[in-house]
């Protein structure tokens, strides 16, 4: 039976009356109603992870006929336990925007002309062949996403790295998670958090580092608030560069000057050592001390290269290094009072308190992103507050499969599904599983994301296929990269679900299936793999991104590597991919189990998920007889790093006298290409704005809603002022959400990046303001 809107409202009306009756007459029963609802087949509920952020909330999608019509939180999913945020509750509406891309289009002259999808796929394959024959294999590239499903990323890696032989494969998670990866790799030798969301119920103290969780990870923030209400003795500290809704809900809000979190973290470590709050047993058994290069640059020039040179140091040398970061000295750098620094250190140093640190883009989109990740790990390592329930340094993610697809499958230029292209044993494993000659896999990484778009602008890359992402909104210093993409001899393919500024630069547009219109898996922030089946059909000629890649691969002659049928390809790809992780350190759950459960955490060993890694009580990969084993490092010891404070790439000066900070709002997800098509979300937050401190606004003569021009050395945007809105920056800073394509704030931002992770810094550049 098909459920139309009117029937749905009548069903809701009856449900309301029955709920009211239940509260007035306890035990009342309406058996006929249940029979009607069940017999009519009006709604069938199926599980899926939410389409949006990296939290990985489980949702139940109500389906009537061929249409998804309702959503509720999945009570069987341990992530959200039946909760959803405002985006999650409306997620299915994102499928049904009026301007969905339903057919393939090809540029003919100045017009995009509809063509059968097979014709578009033929053209893509021939263009790849032509480009490689004319300008070499490293002139073709693919740019994917942390919204790729795991099979999407896996086949992309197999085609580009295994078959075509180029490492020109990157994903937008480089823009959001790369510093988290290099932070893990340099401190622990292995990627992804050691803890899990259960830490929230165990922790006594939460410190959020530059992380507005109330808007960006609202379900996890709700769990924190619920834990505080239930236990009564939980403390939440918001450590940030601007006041937000998270600040309002926290027990204490501490503001620091941009980039100076490095000094604050070092000062906390100084205090921990000065007060002898060090967990010496843990430190002596499980850590070593190191330093690396300093004054490492900002990557603003083309062809920028950097390689760190780690050196072992003694504890005494580390202690000496920290003398530059007494609380009083750090106060002068950061603006955080010495008293507040000592308070933070006392929370971390108190042996009776379990402490969890959360962070996301504030620490990762940072020209010293790897360093600040290292420094927060230092705090947890010095105090031994790690890898035990409630003691957790926890890097959150922003996209549903930044971990699952980009970090685990390895869709970055230097990565393979297991290991890196530079190591022969990792290339051998990939060549064997992929059934390609070893020589196909190039041992040299090519371009990270910013450099890849620079290469497109220079002409070193001529062909680029972009899937499930919108770089013509998200690239920093956007004007340069849009002009590059529009150059005459560039060929751009874009697979997406709605028109965006990125489809505007395309030569071919492929209609993509979205979320539950295909089968797939995501991997969330806590190492949880989440399967979803195809629940509804996609419109028109839409095709999954995985299948688009398979179709092109076959046209290029790689039938042997991509032999699967449409009925079984996701299962076959998953079982092939699992072979890369066949060890107690990373075993993945079998396909049959993923289909049944609302997510399964890896390492999945002997039928059990691993909640806390590196702790022998919970992690079977630890050496027998050990208590903790940081097995990513050869000696099983984590690294404590001496990393100094260094300033941002561009700071305010006399000409450009404000910091520009960018980010998100709760109603919209990323560039808004999906959430702005959900009417209730669009109405709630119809356009972007610039937050200005009230005193700065007064000096400019600007009131709420008046237009302000934000000007940097790279571009300008004019938009409405928001004064004393939901977020309030300190004096000398403005904040702009990036969800609105009408105001391309990344035309203003700077393409400086962390030299180790190559992740751009979207949080810090210099601008000036003009009242319009």
């Amino acid at each position: 039976m098909k459920l139309d809107r009117r029937s749905f409202i009548k069903s809701a009306a009856a449900g309301s009356a029955i709920a009211a009756a239940g509260s007035i007459f306890p035990g009342i029963s309406f058996a006929d109603w249940k029979k009607q609802e069940g017999a009519s087949g009006q709604l069938i509920w199926k599980k899926a992870p939410c389409r949006f952020c990296g939290t990985g909330c489980g949702v139940l999608v109500g389906v009537s006929g061929d249409r998804a019509v309702a959503v509720k939180g999945d009570p069987n999913c341990s992530v959200n336990k039946g909760l959803c945020c405002v985006k999650g509750f409306h997620v299915v509406q994102a499928l049904y925007g009026k301007d969905r891309i339903r057919t393939a289009k090809v540029r003919k002259g100045n017009k995009m002309v509809e063509v059968p999808i097979s014709e578009a796929l033929d053209l893509i394959a021939s263009k790849i062949q032509e480009t490689i024959s004319q300008t070499g294999k490293d002139s073709v590239a693919m740019y994917g996403s942390g919204q790729w499903t795991i099979p999407d990323g896996y086949v992309a890696s197999k085609l580009f790295k295994g078959c075509l032989g180029t490492n020109n494969l990157e994903a937008n998670a480089r823009l959001c998670m790369a510093s988290a990866v290099t932070g893990f790799m340099t401190s622990f030798g292995i990627d992804e958090p050691m803890g899990c969301y259960e830490d929230i119920e165990h922790a006594d103290v939460f410190v959020t580092w530059g992380n507005n969780m109330a808007e960006m990870h609202p379900v996890l923030f709700s769990r924190m608030l619920a834990s505080r209400k239930r236990k009564g003795n939980v403390t939440i500290i918001d450590l940030a560069t601007r006041s937000t809704r998270s600040s309002q809900a926290s027990d204490k809000s501490i503001l620091f000057k941009p980039s100076t979190d490095l000094a604050v973290a070092n000062a906390i470590c100084y205090e921990i050592i000065r007060n002898d709050w060090v967990n010496w047993d843990f430190v002596n058994k499980h850590t070593t001390f190191h330093k690396g290069k300093t004054n490492i640059g900002y990557g603003t020039e083309d062809h920028f290269k950097f390689k760190d040179a780690p050196q072992g140091i003694t504890f005494e040398e580390y202690k000496k290094f920290l003398e530059d970061y007494t609380p009083e000295k750090a106060e002068r750098i950061s603006g955080v009072s010495a008293m507040d620094i000592k308070y933070l250190a006392s929370l971390y140093g108190d042996p009776t308190k379990k402490v969890t640190s959360f962070w996301c883009m504030g620490m990762n989109q940072h020209v010293r992103g790897t360093w600040i990740n290292n420094l927060v790990y230092n705090i947890h390592l010095l105090t031994g507050k790690i890898s035990t329930p409630g003691n957790s340094p926890f890097s959150l993610t922003g996209q549903p499969s930044a971990c699952g697809t980009v970090r685990e499958v390895g869709t970055l230029t230097h990565k393979l599904p297991h290991g890196v292209v530079m190591k022969e044993e990792h290339r051998k494993m990939a060549a064997e599983i992929w059934d390609v000659p070893l020589a196909n896999i190039d041992p040299k990484p090519t371009y990270h994301t910013v450099e890849m778009f620079r290469a497109l602008d220079r002409g070193d890359i001529r062909f680029m296929w972009i899937q499930v992402t919108n770089p013509m909104i998200t690239m920093p210093n956007l004007n340069r990269y849009r002009k590059g993409a529009l150059k005459d001899d560039r060929f751009i393919v874009v697979s997406d679900v709605y028109p965006t500024p990125t489809t505007d630069v395309a030569d071919v547009i492929l209609p993509a299936a979205m979320w539950i219109e295909q089968e797939g898996m995501y991997g969330n922030s806590e190492r949880r793999t989440q399967h979803f089946e195809q629940i509804v059909p996609g419109p028109g000629e839409t095709m999954s991104d995985t299948w688009q890649i398979i179709e092109v691969a076959r046209r290029l002659g790689f039938e042997k590597q991509f032999p699967w049928s449409e009925d079984e390809y996701i299962e076959k790809i998953w079982e092939e991919y699992r072979r890369f992780h066949d060890s107690p350190k990373h075993n993945m759950a079998p396909y049959s189990l993923l289909k049944k459960r609302s997510g399964v955490q890896w390492p999945f060993v002997n039928g059990k998920e691993t909640r806390w890694r590196f702790n022998a009580k919970y992690d079977p990969a630890c050496k027998p007889g050990s208590d903790f084993d940081f097995y990513g490092k050869k000696d099983g010891k984590a690294w404590i790093w001496a990393r100094p404070y260094e300033p941002a790439a561009e700071s305010p000066d006399d000409e450009y006298n404000f910091w520009l900070n960018t980010g998100r709002v709760i109603e919209h997800w990323h560039t808004g290409s999906m959430t702005r098509r959900v009417p209730v979300l669009h109405r709630a937050m119809p356009e972007s704005y610039v937050e200005i401190n009230p005193e700065d606004a007064m000096n400019l003569g600007v009131v709420n809603g008046e237009l302000v021009k934000i000007i940097s050395r790279r571009g300008s945007v004019t938009m409405k002022a928001s004064i004393n809105g939901r977020g309030v920056p300190p004096r000398g800073m403005v904040f702009v959400p990036f969800f609105d394509e009408s105001y391309k704030i990344n035309e203003v931002t700077l393409d400086a990046f962390c030299p180790i992770s190559k992740q751009p810094d979207y949080k810090k550049c210099a601008v000036r303001l003009e009242k319009v």
Binding site: A14, A17, A21, F25, F30, D32
Partner: protein, 77 residues
């Protein structure tokens, strides 16, 4: 095009009569409770005029003791 729902309570001993009265009326659907003298009534009228007429008719049903609204929706389609 209003859609409303109510909890309808019958006069003493008039549950069956109330169900018969309501289910026989145009624009009305009912879900009787199994174990209490309570009926869920859902009305779906095509326009405001029909809605007004229906409400007048409901008030005059002898078997009905009280009617409590639990849901209301009215939108142009």
């Amino acid at each position: 095009m209003p859609i409303l729902s109510y909890l309808a309570l019958p006069r003493d001993g008039a549950m069956d009569q109330l169900c018969a009265d309501l289910s026989g009326m145009e624009y009305c659907e009912i879900i009787p409770a199994d174990n209490q003298e309570v009926v869920v009534l859902v009305t779906d009228t095509p326009d405001d005029k029909s809605e007004k007429t229906l409400q007048e008719t409901l008030k005059k049903i002898p078997s009905l003791q009280s009617l409590s609204m639990t849901f209301g929706h009215n939108a142009e389609e």
